[in-house]
């Protein structure tokens, strides 16, 4: 093999090396992993401490921080720490699911529109233009307040706990895919002219083959960055909706719905408002650090050599 071949390492390895040097990105990733693991272990903490983040205990309302209630208890006597963990479960997984949903839909639509062009493409682009400059939060509120029975869903389903959760994920997906679609479409238009795509097409490879094997894997880099950054925005959107009372409904809880509850108690129990907001802030900062780090690591111009 030539010297050229021996020196080179795979693209992903190079990216990993660059990311490893980015302390902010690593810290963000670590913090995020920690938050996720902690919130997933909420039941373990509850069982161990003999407390509950869900069941009201009117005998221990507004308890101060003790060995049993690490961060005290709230207005219904629920353990604040356990509740924060449960809220984190909701907020973080909605962030992940919503960002993934938007990216998957965006990748599908963007690659299809870029590959087939023509009328499909025109409709998509007009629609994307349409979505931009829409007042996002009011539309989110309307979507969150829609009467789903008018769309043919059963009322049992709507009253079930998971409906609120999935409703938010679907709404965020519906409003969030356009950005990714534009990114992927632009990459697809460029990739469709590349000779390795022509080579596959000359074999008579079907469209799903060309898209799935050659185009999407080569267009995925900006999508990873966009997904990461979108996760932060989804968490903020969910917390805003839950804060306004149209997001996660009790008995389920998220950091946003905890804040909604704490708003009226700001003078008497300020810590109830401080903790969930701080966790939202910390997670979103961590996500943005990671997103920026990935962006820099994936950008070939940032190659130090």
């Amino acid at each position: 093999m030539s010297a050229h071949a021996e020196e080179s390492v795979s693209v992903w390895h190079l990216r990993w090396l660059r990311l490893k040097r980015d302390r902010a990105a690593l810290a963000g990733a670590g913090l995020l992993a920690l938050l996720l693991m902690a919130s997933e272990s909420a039941p373990i903490y509850e069982a161990w401490q003999g407390v509950s983040g869900v069941d009201a205990d009117l005998l221990s309302r507004f308890d101060p921080a003790t060995a049993q209630h690490w961060l005290g208890s709230d207005d219904a006597g629920r353990d604040v720490f356990a509740r924060l963990l449960r809220g984190g479960q909701t907020s973080l997984t909605i962030g992940i699911m919503g960002a993934l949903g938007a990216s998957i839909v965006g990748t599908l639509i963007g690659s299809i529109s870029g590959y087939f062009r023509g009328r499909v493409d025109m409709v998509l682009m007009r629609f994307t233009d349409f979505m931009i400059a829409l007042p996002q939060l009011p539309i989110l509120i309307i979507l969150a307040a829609l009467d789903l029975t008018k769309l043919g869903f059963s009322s049992e389903f709507i009253r079930s706990g998971s409906a609120g959760y999935w409703r938010i994920v679907v709404i965020v997906t519906l409003l969030g895919w356009t950005g990714v679609a534009r990114l992927v479409r632009a990459s697809t238009l460029a990739l469709a002219e590349r000779e390795f795509v022509l080579a596959a097409r000359a074999q008579g490879a079907p469209a799903w083959w060309v898209l799935g094997i050659h185009i999407v894997p080569n267009a995925i880099t900006p999508v990873i960055v966009a997904t990461t950054i979108a996760m932060g925005r989804v968490i903020l959107a969910e917390s805003g909706l839950s804060f306004l009372g149209v997001g996660i409904q009790p008995p389920a809880t998220s950091w946003g719905s905890m804040l909604s509850n704490a708003q009226e108690l700001i003078t008497s129990a300020p810590m109830l408002a401080i903790w969930p907001g701080l966790l939202i802030l910390v997670s979103v900062v961590a996500i943005n650090f990671l997103g920026d780090g990935l962006q820099a690591a994936f950008d070939p111009r940032s190659d130090p050599r």
């Binding site: 009467d147 903020l236 802030l281 979103v284 943005n288």
Partner: protein, 320 residues
Amino acid sequence: MTRFLLSRAAGAFVVLMAKSFVIFALIGLMPGDPVDLLMNANPDATPEDIAHLRQLYGVDTPIFERYWHWLTAAVHGDFGFSRLQHRPVWDIVIPALGNTIVLTATAFTIATVIAITLGTIAALKRGTWIERAIGLLAYTGISIPAFWLGLMLIYLFAVILGWLPAGGMPRPEEGIRGIFSHLALPVLTLVIVEIGAPTRYARAAMLEVLGQDYIRTARAKGLSSRRLILKHALRNAMIPVVTIIALGMGNLFSGALLTETIFAWRGMGRLILEAIMGNDYNLALVCLLFTTAAILLANILADVAYTKLDPRIGLGGRRK
């Protein structure tokens, strides 16, 4: 110029029509029966009117027909009645729009000035702790939930320190002082939330301009760096920044909605939320349309500003 504005306005009008239809359709899917709610809203409605409107608005009527009826009325200046406030929607929307403009325009101006200043400083002090501190501030702004920030500011300035009111509108007898004290916290909230992205753009734009040849030439010619920055670099760097800020009007409005809710500021954001939560269809519809129109207008203004400020860009929107 006129031709450019006309074509942009025509495009925006088409988009506005499309959006009004989508919003109309979405609101029809909200809880409750729009016909009943509409009837209750109008105190002057006679039984004949009700029968007439039922026929026009009836659930069996296709949505296009209902929309068309609403649209023709709206074009004639009849935006209908608010169900909650039993007043014509128009009389409610105008004062709220005024309040929102006061709040967002103040916040927008302050945020733009601060963002450009911080971005420029960060670019000039590249690699120092100052740049990192500004970066962290920008990150916090992007990442902080607006409503939580408002809550914390209320706790600090109204509850603990007692310096400023926790919310609400200024009363006439409080005079100028009252206006400032009531505006202070909501504006501060919006500024912090909105400052992040434009600061980062300003920094990037400034770095790019500073690296360009003509700046180096000017430096070599002996222009002092302070004059240089103010005269050459700043102006060229700020064109994209101003555009990006103006394009972010939709975002600013989302922030304003949450801020107004927290601080009980009687603006459009709060009105929209109340209208949606109270099933006040007509009010929600008109508010949303006003908002959408305002965002579209801001986008057109951003385009115009962009073309005006940068001589290299023709009004066709393409680089020459």
